[in-house]
Structure formats: structure tokens, C-alpha cells
Amino acid sequence: MINSLKLIPLLVIALILSACSGVTGKEVTVGGKNFTEQYLLSEMTAFLLVEEGFKVNQMNNLGSSVVRSALINGQVDMMWEYTGTALITYMGEESISDPEAAFDRVKELDSENNIHWMNMSEVNNTYALAMTSERSEELGITSISDLADYINDNPGELTMAADAEFANRSDGLPGVEETYGFSFGSGQVKQMDLGLTQRSLDNEQVDVSVAFETDATIRSYDLVVLEDDERFFPPYRIAVTINEEVFEEYPEIEEITARLADRLDSNIMRELNYLVDIEGQSVSVVAYDWLVESGLLEEE
């Protein structure tokens, strides 16, 4: 009796330990940022990894710098990152306009942080400034230079919607204002949740809004993306960033995520974002349907 009682704690420990590992003992944590495209990428990656026998934890809905810190300190094992964001915001480098060169540069710089870059895809989700086509015609603004001229001639007239990140990132609004030589002025930039920025543009509560190249709202709200005529925004190609040790442990992740990276492009991404943002379908359903459709996942 006494002996069996002594066994109980051991049993408990054994159970806890066994619960910590999946069926195959392979486990990764996938991180994601706080917008639709990232939810989708994280979800698709999770589906594929689970299919390959991994136990997947997801940490989604984080700010760029937050999830990046989590990747560096090992709380997150892997995530889809944008070359431009890493180059300018994380590493403070100058913009590089050639996508391949930008990728090589961040890969080289990030090896010091124990982070491995791989599988750059065609998806280029660059930041952009958008206006409604109506307003853009009315004011005769089609490029960011036009916008700069207009604001310098009529200070304090136009308002802009941005999320906290774009409004304060060096490759965001401060960089745009510096490069083009204008300033909205404080109080003219309305900061809000990223999901509401184009909506407030559509409601005519602001004149300009932050947008992404792969935004579904650009089409459905009839928006005009202002031409970046000074080529300020770097390429924002998505690629997999993964912790070196995790990558050494599970090299098969490269091949698994390559299936996604090779098939995705900006148009497909915009289409998927559309299904979630405009049609209101759930992220999981959209991710799963697309994987099945492209033959990456067997329908169950």
C-alpha cells in the first residue's frame, strides 16, 4: 500500500510529461500578426504541419514587434515575416528595392539572431496609401507626391486613418512624410484598429488611409492606391522565419512550408483576404478550403 502510494506522484509526472508531447513528439509554435492575411497564413501552416504529425500551438493577433521578440526569445518557433518589415523596422537598414537582394540581406543579418529565413513567396504585401476614387479625382491626387503638394498648400485640411503601428514605424508614416517632405500634423492622423482604417475611409470620415497591397477592401470599396513615385516602400515579400534550433530539429518544415510559398501570390492572397474580410467567412474555413482546392490537403 505504502509503495503504491509512493508511485502516484511518479505516475502523475509521467502523465504530465506524456501529455506535453504530441503523438510523434513533434511540436512547434507558429506565431502570427494582427491582420487577416497573417491569420490565414498561420492557420494554413498549422493545417499542413498537423497533417505531417506535428502538434501545433498558435500565437496569433500580435503586433509585429511583439511576435518578432517572441521569435527571438524562443516563445514562438516560426512565423511568416515580410522582408521589408524586417529590413527597416527590425534592423534599421536602408530600403532595398530588389526583392531577392532584400531577402538575402535580411537572411544574412538575421543569422546573428539565430533566425533562419527560407521560402520567399511571390506575395508582396507592401504598405500603401489609399483614397476613395471619388475623393482622389476631386482633389486630383493620384500619387504620394500629389498628396504631399496638396498638404503643403492646404495644411491641416486632410485627415488620415492609420493603425498605431503604421503611424509610428520608420517604414510607415514618419518615413513617408520625411521622404516626400510633408506632414499631416498631429491631430490630423486618426489612429485606430487596423480593421477599421478602410472602413472609415469608406464612411468618408477620413481622406487617406493606410492599406496593404493584398487588401481585399481596395476592390470592394473602390479605392485608389496612391502611386509611390519616390519608391519609398521596400518590397514586402512573405517568407518563413524560423528559430535555428527548431529548424535543425525539424528540417522537414522547409519542404512543408515551401508548398505554401510556391503556390501563393498576391492575387490569391487578396482573394482569400476578400473571403474573410468582405464575405465574412471564418479564417479556418477559408484556409482549409483553399488547401483542399490546391491539393495540399486531403478532404476528410
Binding site: 503586433g63 514587434s65 511583439v66 498605431a164 503611424a167 486618426k190 489612429q191 477599421l196 472602413r199 464612411n203
Partner: protein
């Protein structure tokens, strides 16, 4: 008794030391720099924050205090549970959800945030008003009736002065909560100091976080202090609670 005093003072000084240490840490890391380097933005955000809190709190006082008075009239006694439940509901819906729900009706920005904060502030004020009036000794009301006072005289001369302490306690609770909750106004584009708090979270930048959060904290402490002073003026001498220091 002596031991209690000693422990009390130890705790108090430990707290002072912790606060001082925090400020020394924050200043030495120059986490307050944004307040000075972007002072024009800071002032805009501060003004937005204060206006949000003031407008929503005043609306809540204007609605909740009369509602509390109305409910305590004998005629309306039966309807009390209806009002109480509505007020409770307002408090239990997460403020973020109220914000999200109101966007489709009120659009994005100031009015949505004010509405959400207003809903959130009603309950403590309403409940304290009702409790304050209900707690008045029935004998006092009877005495007033015996003296030939009219109902409105009883209300203004007996009930309100005697429940002022409780009503103001409710207002204080609501306003202090409101100042903290107003940080969520950023989400719907209504500005306020929450903009810097969220910037700090999203960019992992302690400077923005602290430059936003500490002023919010100080605002709450200041509001509490001012309302204490108001309480001192408004509450009649006879019903003042003696605070044991």
C-alpha cells in the same frame, strides 16, 4: 496597536520606495521622452482623453442620478428591478464589445467611444444613488412629513443631502474606472492616451507605453482627489464620515 502602526508605516514606505524606484527606472531609461519630444501630439491625446471622460461621465451623472431618484419614489418602487437590470447589463457587457457593436450604428470615432464609456459608468452611479436614498432612516422621513414638508422638500432637504456621500462615492468610482477604460477609445479611432499605450504594445516600445500609461494613472489619481474635495464641500457636516487615518 503599536505593532499595527509599525506595520502600516513599513508598508507605506515600501510602497513609496517602489513608486520612486519605478520613476527612477523609467526616467533613467528615458521612457518619458515622448511626452517632451512629441509634446504637441501628447497634448492632443491628453485633451481627447479628458474630453471623452468628461462628456461620458457628465451624461452618465445626468441620466443615472435622476433615474436613481425616480426609482426610490413609492410610485415607481415596482419598476426598480427593470432599471437595476438594465444598469447591470451595461456594466457586464465588455466595453470592447460595446465599442464594436456601436460602430455599425454610430460610425467610427468620438461618439462611439463616448457611448461605450457612458454605458459603463451608469451602474456605479445609479446603484449608489439608490442605496444612499434607501439607507436614510425612515423615522427622519416620517418626522419631515409630520412637520408638513412637501415631497419635493423632503427630497431636496432630507434625502439628497443625506445620501450625497453615497452618490458622490458612486460618481468617484465611475469616473476613475472611466479614465482607465477610455484608453480603449484608440480601437475605434477616438484618440486619447490609449493611442500611445497601444503603440507601445504593437511596437514593443516601453517609451510609448509608459508615456501613455503613467499620465492615465495620474489623471485617475487627480480626478479622485478633486472629487474628494467636491465631496467635502457638498456633503453636509452632520453626515460626514470621519475617515480614520
Amino acid at each position: 496597536m503599536k505593532r499595527k502602526k509599525l506595520i502600516g508605516s513599513i508598508v507605506r514606505y515600501a510602497l513609496y520606495a517602489a513608486v520612486a524606484a519605478f520613476f527612477i527606472w523609467a526616467i533613467s531609461n528615458s521612457y518619458f521622452d515622448y511626452i517632451f519630444s512629441q509634446s504637441d501630439t501628447f497634448l492632443v491625446l491628453l485633451r481627447q482623453h479628458v474630453v471623452l471622460v468628461l462628456v461620458s461621465s457628465l451624461l452618465a451623472i445626468l441620466i443615472a442620478v435622476p433615474a436613481g431618484i425616480l426609482i426610490t419614489r413609492p410610485k415607481f418602487k415596482k419598476a426598480e428591478w427593470v432599471f437595476s437590470n438594465i444598469a447591470n447589463l451595461g456594466q457586464t457587457i465588455p466595453s470592447l464589445a460595446v465599442l464594436a457593436l456601436m460602430i455599425s450604428i454610430l460610425g467610427i470615432g468620438f461618439q462611439t467611444a463616448v457611448f461605450a464609456l457612458f454605458i459603463y459608468s451608469i451602474l456605479p452611479i445609479f446603484r449608489n444613488t439608490v442605496a444612499g436614498i434607501d439607507s436614510i432612516d425612515k423615522n427622519m422621513i416620517d418626522a419631515a412629513k409630520g412637520m408638513g414638508m412637501k415631497p419635493h422638500q423632503i427630497l431636496f432637504r432630507i434625502e439628497l443631502p443625506n445620501s450625497a456621500y453615497s452618490i458622490l462615492a458612486g460618481i468617484r468610482t465611475a469616473v476613475v474606472l472611466n479614465i482607465g477604460t477610455a484608453a480603449l477609445a484608440y480601437v475605434v479611432g477616438a484618440g486619447g492616451l490609449g493611442v500611445w499605450i497601444f503603440t507601445g504594445i504593437n511596437l514593443f516600445d516601453n517609451g510609448f507605453l509608459i508615456s501613455g500609461a503613467i499620465p492615465v494613472t495620474l489623471l485617475a489619481i487627480l480626478a479622485d482627489y478633486i472629487l474628494r474635495k467636491v465631496e467635502y464641500i457638498v456633503v453636509p457636516k452632520g453626515s460626514r464620515r470621519v475617515e480614520k487615518a
